[in-house]
Amino acid sequence: MNAFWTNLLPVGVLAASFLTGLGILLLGEARARARVVVNLFGAALKLALVLWMGWLTYNGTLIEMRFSMVADLEFVLRADSLSFLFMGLSSALWLITSIYAIGYLGNGPNRARFFGFFSWCITAAVGVALAGNVITFFIFYEFLTLSTYPLVVHSGTENALKGGRTYLFYTMGGGALFFVGLIWLHVLAGPIDFAEPSVVAGLPAGLQPQLMIIFPLMIFGVGVKAALFPFHGWLPIAMVAPAPVSALLHAVAVVKAGAFGVARVVYHIFGLDVLSDFGLLTPLAVVASITIVYGSLRALTQDDLKRRLAYSTVSQVSYVILGVSVLGVTASAGGLVHLVHQGIMKITLFFCAGLLAETVHVKTVSGMAGLGRRMPWTMAAFTVGAFGMIGLPPIAGFISKWYLGLGALEAGQPWVVGVLVASTLLNAGYFLPILYTAWFTESVSDDAQALPASAREADGWMLYPTIITAVLSVLAGIAAGAGWSPLTLARAVAAGVYGL
């Protein structure tokens, strides 16, 4: 394979989902069957290309595509190990979520618009992963904002529009903050490429005060999407979107893009050694911890199931940021792998929430009484997800918490372990009651028999994806040591970053 074709692979990956989206939008509302085929074919193609690219990078070929937009602005796509982590996650889950969404939306209105923008969001998310320099990252970062807006306001109801407005307000503000930091840094240090060693390290000491201002600007700019503490407000409000959107976007694509952005800023823009001697890493860890605890606390009191899951996401994503901000290979490996694990587990939970809302129209935690008997498979998947979130051993969540705790001890920051323990207790605090009401209480309305037989279990389109993701989260936990597991990949990334 000569270099020309391999360098076109990243463009191929992006084009796969972009053109699918375009095709779906052009197909229009009527042709549902053609749309399903195009969508699934696109998703499968994208996954295949990502895996092929993974295999090539594994064998050591460097894949990079450069394209100059303006004098010193270069559009660079590069497949490095960190990008595989996020890209693999989002393309795989896109395929699964598309199947789920086809079942979920049935024959609702505006499905063409939904699936079109859905594929464009994934293009943006994968673009964020593949970005080779800070400009390309910003381009896809803003493209993500734009392509998710129509999904958030998909249902068109009044509070959907209000949710959309808040979502825009936060993400646009975040984008503007990041842009200020980005351009300020560009003026000081010139174009910043993720591959070369951090340019910021070479800057004269006089610039330190300015760099100390630029770093929070960029972190909070990206932190808005990662739902860091002061800027997490939009995530629960954006739950107004349909279930597949909350599942893929607010659990995987958008939020992870924020966390991924924080990782890029810390590892590849500023570089760890610059940040550690500026003493900026510990404040970041503190903010992450506040978010973790705050998110879990708010989740305790939420009766609406999706809002509870949303607050849980707010706190879980900050694990990644915590891992990134704690010095040491194991801690950052734990953080990075949580990026994948949390994605799989959270998407299972959101799938179940969608299933419950669709089949038995249960939206609140209190309404879930006695569902265990009526919808055994859904509740089983939910239980697996919940246990994973809490961090029980066989499921993936445990692995990341274990590595995080271990890394924190190695780095000599015991208080991080305290935070982990507290959040685990809080996780248990808001997940176990749900399981208890679902499995062990009789449904208060004794018309259990009156429910139509079909309400027993959701239809295939929606149930199988949920089960697949549940199995995946267990698999990621058990087979963590395997060659292809997210953990080994995260470890390779962490090793690369620390230059071991």
């Binding site: 100059s68 937009m69 209105p109 505006n110 068109g156 503000g173 984008g175 003026v187």
Partner: protein
């Protein structure tokens, strides 16, 4: 051969205009389209030619500079002509089906005269960009003003007539104030040729007076912030293709003149305070325009105020170029210039697309009030999508031309040490997001009442979509266009542009 390209770009639309004036409606529509394509082709050929041979000067009638008039084309003039050509062709094809649709007898008579006046306007714009003689520019400015007012008052309804009158008075006053500056310069230096003036000028009361007066006159014609009173009613009440022409092209012509005068003629007399005044005007325009846009109830009025705001971005090249004694000032002055010109291009494309889409809305729903936008996303998906894409470019979000322009302007402003302009530009982008989404939001909500929409010809929507996509594409690949812009170093700060 290259010698005849420059006058050809002026003669062709004039010929088209005369033919349209005397012939029947169908013939003039056909002539309009053919002339539009031919003119665009000529400008394309001229670009190719200038890219090879560099700056060209053409002595009209064979008489050399002080006595005769020179036509001069450099990167800056070419860039503006390319912009006019792209927007011109799109608007022409849009107008073919837009005016074809209007059956009311009253509209029909107005529509006949659209073609000759529009061709005349296009020819005078090309003449303005090519002209190297400031008195000649005065005459062309006058034609531009009259033609623009003629187009505004095309439909003859009450609103456009009053708006047209206000516009005409502002244009006439602006031209006269500009003429006063021309006379001052001629009195002081005995020539009206831009390049000769650039070499002869030296700081003094006359030069300062001339600069102030000419800039003031042109600011009035560019509808810069305090003097923008005539623009919103004129651009909002005019028909869609006309508002697109006005917002995208006519307003930019006088901005081009200010730029040409500041860099080529008055480069010796620019003071830092003058630069800061222009920057302050730009800031005022962005803030005032955006705030007013947020308050409007009609889509076209909102877009007109958005023009007032977006013009503000163009003005940050002046404060940056004012302190040209700093270390490597030349580099970031050139970047600032490219930023403001690219913003002009991106804004022209995006604004044309939004105005054309608003025309489709007006045509289909009968009114462009915000509430009538409910549920249009399902019924007019292409138009709403075009508006969204154009909105992305207006907001300056990454994949678009607007972003590249904002990037270069902010970078130049920060590098020049005048960091206080940067938050204005970025804040302006957020405000733009405010009013763009205010238009798009109702389009997503389901239409409660399914009143029948007037059928809209496909070509209207495609023109709007085409321009929107173009405004995004120029964001992806800017190097070629900017290389064209930099031919002849228009933003160089030594004595006048290279001849």
């Amino acid at each position: 051969m290259s010698e005849t390209l420059m006058p050809l770009a002026i003669l062709l639309p004039f010929v088209g205009s005369l033919i349209c004036f005397v012939s029947r409606h169908r013939v003039s529509v056909f002539t309009g389209c053919v002339t539009a394509l031919l003119t665009a082709g000529t400008i394309g050929w001229l670009t190719y030619d200038v890219a090879i041979h560099g700056v060209q000067v053409y002595a009209l009638g064979g008489w050399s500079a002080p006595l005769g008039i020179h036509l001069r084309v450099d990167g800056l003039a070419l860039f503006m002509m390319i912009m006019s050509a792209i927007v011109g062709v799109a608007v022409t094809f849009y107008a073919v089906s837009y005016f074809g649709e209007h059956d009311a007898q009253e509209e029909k008579r107005g529509a006949e005269l659209f073609w000759p006046i529009w061709m005349f306007l296009w020819a005078s714009m090309n003449a303005l960009y090519l002209s190297g003689d400031i008195f000649n520019i005065y005459v062309i400015l006058e034609i531009l003003g009259l033609a623009a007012v003629g187009l505004v008052a095309l439909t003859g309804r009450r609103a456009v007539l009053v708006a047209g009158m206000r516009y005409l008075l502002a244009a006439m006053a602006g031209s006269l104030i500009y003429l006063l500056g021309v006379v001052l310069l001629y009195a002081a230096h005995g020539t009206v040729d831009i390049v000769l003036l650039g070499q002869a000028i030296e700081p003094g009361a006359t030069a300062m007076a001339a600069m102030t007066v000419m800039t003031a006159g042109l600011l009035l014609k560019t509808a810069m912030f305090p003097l923008h009173f005539w623009l919103p009613p004129a651009h909002a009440s005019a028909t869609a293709p006309v508002s697109a022409i006005l917002s995208a092209l006519v307003v930019k012509a006088s901005f081009y003149l200010i730029l040409r005068l500041w860099f080529d003629v008055f480069h010796a007399t620019i003071t830092l305070e003058a630069g800061y005044v222009m920057g302050a005007l730009g800031t005022g325009a962005i803030l005032w325009g955006s705030i007013q846009a947020l308050r409007q109830a009609r889509v076209k009025m909102m877009i007109a105020y958005s023009t007032v705001a977006q013009l503000g971005y163009l003005f940050f090249v002046f404060p940056v170029s004012a302190d040209h004694d700093a270390a490597n000032a030349a580099t970031w002055i050139s970047i600032a210039g490219q930023g403001s010109l690219y913003q002009a291009l991106a804004h022209a494309l995006a604004k044309t697309s939004i105005f054309l889409s608003a025309g489709v809305l007006l045509h289909a729903a009968g009114s462009d009030h915000i509430d009538h936008m409910r549920g249009l996303a399902q019924r007019l998906p292409v138009t709403v999508f075009a508006m969204a894409l154009a909105g992305v470019s207006l907001m300056g979000l990454p994949p678009s031309g607007g972003f590249v322009a904002k990037w270069m302007t902010v970078q130049a402003v920060l590098a020049a040490g005048q960091w206080w302009w940067a938050p204005v530009i970025i804040g302006g982008g957020l405000l733009a997001a405010g009013y763009i989404f205010r238009i798009l939001r109702p389009a997503f909500s389901p239409a409660d009442v399914q009143e029948a929409l007037h059928p809209v010809p496909r070509s209207l929507e495609l023109c709007a979509l085409g321009m929107a996509i173009l405004s995004i594409v120029i964001g992806l690949r800017a190097t070629d266009l900017l290389d064209v812009l930099l031919i002849g170093a228009p933003f160089a700060i030594q004595a006048g542009g290279a001849l």
